[in-house]
């Protein structure tokens, strides 16, 4: 459903991504692992339209989307959960969710969306009048995921959802990612925590210094001696 075809992304003169290609099929959970600063976040920003690509193309359901503005891409069904969640700090939890359902394809479903979200995340129902800025890190991450679900996405781009969270909360986040997979969402997950992410992945890519250096399923990653020592600590 998603096809990234040889994209380059620059920050000024600095090339953050070089000729990166990858695919996500419908219903798949695909992960991108790699060290800090390898360009993983840049990749997600490029797909969601927050960063312009300079070369190559991005297709979603065979439609070219890298020429579209970010607010159009979310209408197509691609939703980004950025690093740290980036909930709107001075909006209430409820307004954050409402903002999630802003795009024209989602707005009509906002009401049932709220019910589903509050079922899934009872803590958000409890805090719905509270400012998002006053939530804990884990709650904010949940809110960011919930906000993304409100946009009626087909593909969810998750940027380091476990970053900076306590181990118990990380478990919760990963549990939730698996739940979304079961619900039929396609997921492109970027993680430094390679071990953890590989366990839930259908397919995986390794990015280093802006380039794809390895791809395969979990077994391929487990067997590769370089990855074993550098990323899996085996």
């Amino acid at each position: 459903m998603l096809k990234v075809d040889g994209i380059d992304i620059f920050y000024g003169e600095f090339r953050a991504l070089e000729a990166v290609s990858l695919k996500v099929e419908a219903g798949q959970t695909v992960i991108v692992v790699g060290p800090n600063g390898a360009g993983k976040s840049t990749l997600l920003r490029g797909i969601s339209g927050l960063q312009r690509t300079r070369k190559g193309a991005v297709y979603f359901h065979d439609e070219r989307i890298d020429t579209l503005r970010a607010y159009r891409i979310v209408e197509k069904g691609i939703s980004l959960v950025p690093e740290g969640g980036r909930a709107f700090p001075y909006l209430s939890v409820e307004d954050n969710l409402r903002a999630g359902a802003y795009n024209r394809n989602a707005r009509g479903y906002a009401k049932e969306g709220f019910e589903q979200i509050y079922d899934l995340f009872p803590i958000l129902a409890k805090r719905r009048r509270q400012m998002a800025g006053s939530l804990s890190g884990g709650e904010r991450q949940m809110l960011a995921i919930a906000r993304s679900l409100m946009s009626k996405p087909k593909l969810i781009l998750l940027d380091e959802p476990s970053l900076g969270l306590a181990p118990l909360v990380v478990d919760l986040v990963f549990e939730f990612v698996q739940k979304m997979k079961k619900e039929g969402y396609s997921i492109l997950l970027v993680e430094q925590n390679a071990n953890r992410a590989l366990r839930i992945a259908d397919y995986a890519y390794l990015v280093e210094s802006g380039k794809l250096v390895f791809e395969g399923n979990r077994q391929d990653f487990d067997k590769n001696p370089y990855i074993k020592t550098a990323y899996l600590g085996l």
Partner: protein, 286 residues
């Protein structure tokens, strides 16, 4: 003397309501578009002239003339976005400031060419309310009540509509707002239209109080700017509170000393607050 001070205090509060409206508009534009509208007081001046012209020259009844003036100012806000702000959105801040500051000169000279240097006004006699020895001009009271009503409507707009939500989200995190499917350009146009309409509203409230001349706006540009910085840039509540502080301070000082000294005092107060609390009363340190 005590009566005079009480009266000045009340007038300060009443005028503070209108100033709060002005500060709200300036704050909204800064908070959302991240641009300082340097010619905001000149917009009020132009709105005043438009209402005056609609009424005195084209003989449109006063209230429709005011509504027309407000609509025209909203349109001018949109045009400012289209012709001046959009091309400079990614320009250095200094260039944006200079462009908007140059609008001051453009508007004041335009007013001079069209309406001349004479004081213009619509003669209205509104009753004066007196309670004991305290006299309150009903034109001030109407302006105050009107300003509070408009502020209430703005609050509802920002908190009860999808467009209002889009404006608040954009002010907090432009990128994420776009990631929610919000088109920032539309939000900017709506913000500038609302900001422009507000100058029209303020002008309408000023019609029974003042007469207008080409430099009428300059003191309000400074006043609005002082209030907004005093309260913390982009902080709507801070602007609301400081509008009343500045309103009362200048009004009381004007009675104790003179009008000219009152403006100086307001600025001294402003400088003092900036020295102690550079982020403003309710501002957050960046």
């Amino acid at each position: 003397m005590a009566d005079q001070i009480i009266m000045a205090f009340i007038n300060g509060i009443l005028l503070g309501g209108v100033l709060a409206l002005l500060a709200f508009g300036l704050n909204l534009i800064f908070g959302v578009v991240k641009i300082i509208h340097m010619a905001y007081g000149q917009f009020v001046m132009l709105g005043f002239y438009l209402i005056y012209s609609f009424n005195a020259i084209f003989h449109i009844p006063l209230v429709p003339a005011m509504l027309l003036g407000i609509a025209a100012m909203a349109l001018l806000g949109v045009l400012t976005q289209l012709l001046l702000i959009n091309p400079l959105l990614n320009a250095p801040r200094l260039n944006q400031l200079l462009a908007l500051a140059s609008l001051i000169i453009v508007l004041e000279n335009l007013a001079m060419i069209i309406w001349g240097a004479d004081y213009r006004g619509i003669p209205l006699t509104l009753p004066i309310i007196n309670i004991g020895e305290v006299f309150i001009r009903s034109s001030y009271l109407i302006a105050f009540i009107g300003a509070i009503v408009v502020l209430g409507l703005l609050y509802l707009f920002l908190h009860r509509t999808y467009l209002g939500l889009a404006i608040r989200a954009t002010a907090q995190d432009l990128e994420m707002a776009e990631g929610m499917g919000i088109n920032p350009r539309i939000v900017y146009y709506v913000t500038l239209a609302a900001g422009g309409a507000l100058t029209g509203v303020v002008a309408a409230f000023f019609v029974p109080i003042y007469t207008v001349h080409p430099h009428f706006g300059s003191s309000f540009t400074i006043m609005a700017f002082v209030i907004v910085v005093f309260g913390g840039m982009g902080n709507l509540l801070g602007g609301f509170i400081s509008a009343f502080i500045i309103g009362v301070a200048t009004s009381v000082a004007a009675v104790l000393y003179t009008n000219e000294l009152a403006d100086i005092l307001a600025l001294i107060l402003f400088v003092l607050v900036m020295l102690v609390r550079p982020q403003g009363l309710l501002g957050v340190r960046a």
